[in-house]
Amino acid sequence: MTDETTVRDSATARAPHARGFRGLSDRMVGWTFIAPSIILLLAINIFPLIWTIRLSLTNYRANRTAAEVKSVGLRNYERILTDPDIWNAMQATAHFVFWTLFLQVLIGFTLAYLINKKFRGNDLWTTIIVLPMMLSPAVVGNFWTFLYQPQIGLFNYFVGFLTGADPSSFSMIGDTALAPWAIVIVDTWMWTPFVMLICLAGLRSIPESIYEAAECDRASKWRQFWTITIPMALPFLMLAVLFRGIENFKMFDLVVQLTGGGPGSITELTSINLKREAFEKWRTGYASAYAVILFVTVFGLASIYVKALNKVKER
């Protein structure tokens, strides 16, 4: 009897809520569920973007909050786009992005192709190869600085052993001609495993029956590679290029730890340059305009890549 009363009471207590939800249309229930995500998106992504665009049109300095903020129109953009130093930073970034992508895709795909063949110790090799990717960029930057030391560095010793050159006769991170390549080598070492894993997923998704059909048609291994393996792994390759391209365009931590943008400003990539403008020179308005330019560039590139990816998937 007591239990029955309790059940009835609790049902009566829930009734107003139940009626309230029943009164909502499906559309409203849907909006209620997605509202938190939309509010978060607006607060975390859209609002800072609009705020940055607004700041880019002013002379605001974050270290002088009491100073009057004046609108300068498009002058910040004009100054950035006529500044030879920033143009140099763009070229350094282009060199870095192009060569890291080229080497990572080439080596990553080759490694994935080899790992995809069944052999003894396959899993162990996969684990060993992906180890660099799991390290922190700060750690990688630090120990590669030691490896690049002209006096005690293993890298110099190894190059000296192969070429016969004196290991202390060159400095990878102290020479203006070698420093851009030093950061390319380290990024390639660290992130090739990532490209390899994506390519491996692509290669493993190709059904064996297609190769068997090709064998029946007497297609050579070379022809199978170009007409089956490459086209079917292409969406994955493009995905890897998209991820690494955007990441390398924004590269900051690894290069700061390794060279700090030097010698001079030869390895000063755009993100390092931007950080200096924003938090060393405190030209917040100017840095905001710089950030907007980089954002539009990355957004445009990402649009092209997504379109290309969809086309390849449709094929």
């Binding site: 953009y77 786009l81 006529t82 030879p84 143009w87 763009m90 070229q91 970034t93 282009a94 330019i293 539009v296 560039t297 957004f299 445009g300 590139l301 649009s303 092209i304 379109k307």
Partner: protein, 62 residues
């Protein structure tokens, strides 16, 4: 060529997306090329036009 121009005039997505893609690629090349400062100066406006065009034309009919 005639078909492309016809589709452009009828506001079809394919050729307009191609124009936007070419503009973005050209803008990025101009931004990062080491040859002429004036190309770098006009790179942003080219990329911006391409990107905005891409967003708009991706809503055009096929």
């Amino acid at each position: 060529m005639k078909t492309i121009l016809y589709d452009l005039s009828r506001l079809r997505r394919g050729p307009w997306e191609m124009v936007a893609t070419i503009l973005i690629a050209l803008g990025v090349f101009m931004l990062m090329q080491p040859f002429a400062l004036w190309l770098y100066t006009y790179s942003f406006i080219v990329t911006l036009v391409g990107t905005v065009m891409f967003i708009v034309v991706s809503h055009f009919p096929e």
